[in-house]
């Protein structure tokens, strides 16, 4: 089990006029190899939740175990925790600071006190993974790059720490469609190489349906339900009530079903849906 969270509660500004219960009895487990998507409204506690995973927010009550590291212990090895859980914040390009892309990506590994040889190796690897040409960008200032490139440099800065678990807070926000695809394909690629488990906050149901293996829906600080992208269509009414939606293809499936055409739950990409419909059409001809 990669991440285990039990009865997690969190209150901002306790005992003041600004007191706010951000998390209420959150229970969630993520297995190794899973891709968990967290959806929910602004203020539903998603960001507060994910920041608990690498100790940026200290545990108030409840239990969290991340990759064998028990956060309820008195002495938590935060350095190890932060090397284990890589965190990509919303608009990560706003955290770039160094004079060169190289130095920015090397910031994390340097903080881990690695040898310069190891750092060099990791910077090359990370830039390569995010699809940037090392020789072309490494000595440039990060501020000269385009928006999408900046974001990839920022993600490389996290990957260079070689985390086993990668947490991303709306990694595609503010990008154009091709930029979005690039980032999501990058996450998929990372899952096949260095990163084992991914937790991603995302608002785009179609992206969730396409990439995630598990979906957790947050509402007003608690987990409403956990399901798979395939079963999301069953929760349409609940989701709509929360002001959320279901994936476009799940809508299509429901529409087809209302017309008496049943397609499988697996049709979460347009390719699969097309194939399924073609199959049904051919089957229809045969009858």
């Amino acid at each position: 089990m990669s991440i285990v969270v039990e009865n997690l509660n969190y209150v901002y500004n306790p005992k003041t006029a600004f007191e706010k219960h951000a998390l209420i009895d959150v229970n969630l487990t993520v297995d190794e190899g899973e891709f968990l998507a967290i959806i929910g409204h602004t203020g539903s506690g998603k960001s507060t939740f994910v920041q608990h995973l690498n100790g940026l927010i200290k545990l108030q009550s409840g239990k969290i175990v991340v990759d064998g590291i028990d956060l309820t212990q008195k002495k938590v090895d935060y350095k190890l925790l932060r090397a284990t859980v890589g965190m990509v914040f919303q608009y990560p390009e706003y955290q770039l600071f160094a004079d060169t892309v190289y130095n920015d990506v090397a910031f994390g590994p340097k903080n881990l006190k690695l040898s310069s040889q190891e750092i060099d190796e990791r910077v090359r690897e990370a830039l390569n993974l995010v699809g940037l040409n090392f020789d072309y960008v490494s000595q440039k200032s990060p501020f000269e790059l385009s928006g999408g490139e900046k974001r990839r440099v920022a993600i490389a800065g996290v990957i260079a720490m070689r985390p086993k678990i990668l947490v991303l807070d709306e990694p595609t926000a503010g990008l154009d469609p091709s930029g979005k695809n690039e980032i999501l394909n990058l996450v998929t690629k990372l899952r096949e190489t260095t990163v084992h488990t991914v937790v991603m906050i995302n608002h785009d149901m179609d992206e969730v349906a396409r990439y995630a293996t598990k979906v957790a829906v947050f509402d007003k600080g608690s987990v409403k339900f956990v399901t798979t992208p395939q079963k999301l269509y069953l929760k349409r009414d609940e989701l709509v009530q929360m002001g959320l939606d279901i994936p476009t293809l799940a809508k299509l499936k429901l529409y087809l079903s209302s017309k008496g055409i049943e397609v499988g739950e697996d049709c979460l990409t347009s390719e699969k849906m097309t194939r399924e419909l073609e199959k049904l059409a051919k089957g229809g001809e045969n009858v």
């Binding site: 500004n13 006029a17 920041q51 690498n54 940026l56 350095k79 932060r82 090397a83 890589g86 965190m87 914040f89 990560p92 706003y94 955290q95 770039l96 600071f97 160094a98 910031f107 994390g108 903080n111 881990l112 501020f143 800065g157 996290v158 720490m161």
Partner: protein
Amino acid sequence: MFRDVAFGQYYPAESFIHKMDARIKIVLSVLYLAGIFFIQSFFGFGIILVLLGIMIAASKVPFGMVLRSIKPILFLLVFTMILNVFFVSGGTVIVEWWIIKITSEGVLFAVRMALRLLFLVMGASLLTLTTTPVDLTHAIEKLLKPLNVIHFPVHELALIMSIALRFIPSLMEETDRIIRAQTARGADFESGNIIKRAKAFVPILIPLLIGAFKRADELATAMDARCYRGAKGRTKMKILKTGWRDWVGSFVIVLFFGVVITLNILQPQLVELVPWMFV
């Protein structure tokens, strides 16, 4: 990390003092502060204590919040007290050792000074605790308006103030965010010597500055796009109004000021009759 900063923090509540006109509150605060400087005796400090108690009760701000405003000046408070104890002499000698001489007058002076500072800060913080920054700048703009005659840019000053106030929370949030992001990358801001710690802030300051410049640029464009032309012909959405609360508040503070001044003027006559009033 920066959520604990109490300075200038508005405490939302529905209270007598919250509902007072910000202009009146500023004027009365000044009067209150001036009154404190006229007070020389513990009897006078007793009056302030009662007044402050009434004001805090009428503001519905928890006492702890008001008390928190003292934290930043605690060092100054202790420092001045120590200086006064050692360097003011008069009255009977309490301790004399080597070149150190502590006198009763010195101790009394130090205590008076400390009380004055405490009442000063607590009273002033009550103004910012009960008035939103927007109302505060609006009131300052109104109060400084006569300076327009000498071509003092009152409106611009108020605008700078309100923009600064508007962006303090944003910048704090941004700082918080950047600190979290760099901490997530293993940055350590808490250990090492001073130089090391100062260096650790570079990864925070640079993104913060870049962000601030970007925001300033965007704000200027947004203001331009909405035809901002300065003070000329500009109206306010919320107009400050004076009501019965302001009359009551003014009456209390003016009464306090009057009593303090009277005590000061009549001191030579009264000191023989009621000497305890002038300790």
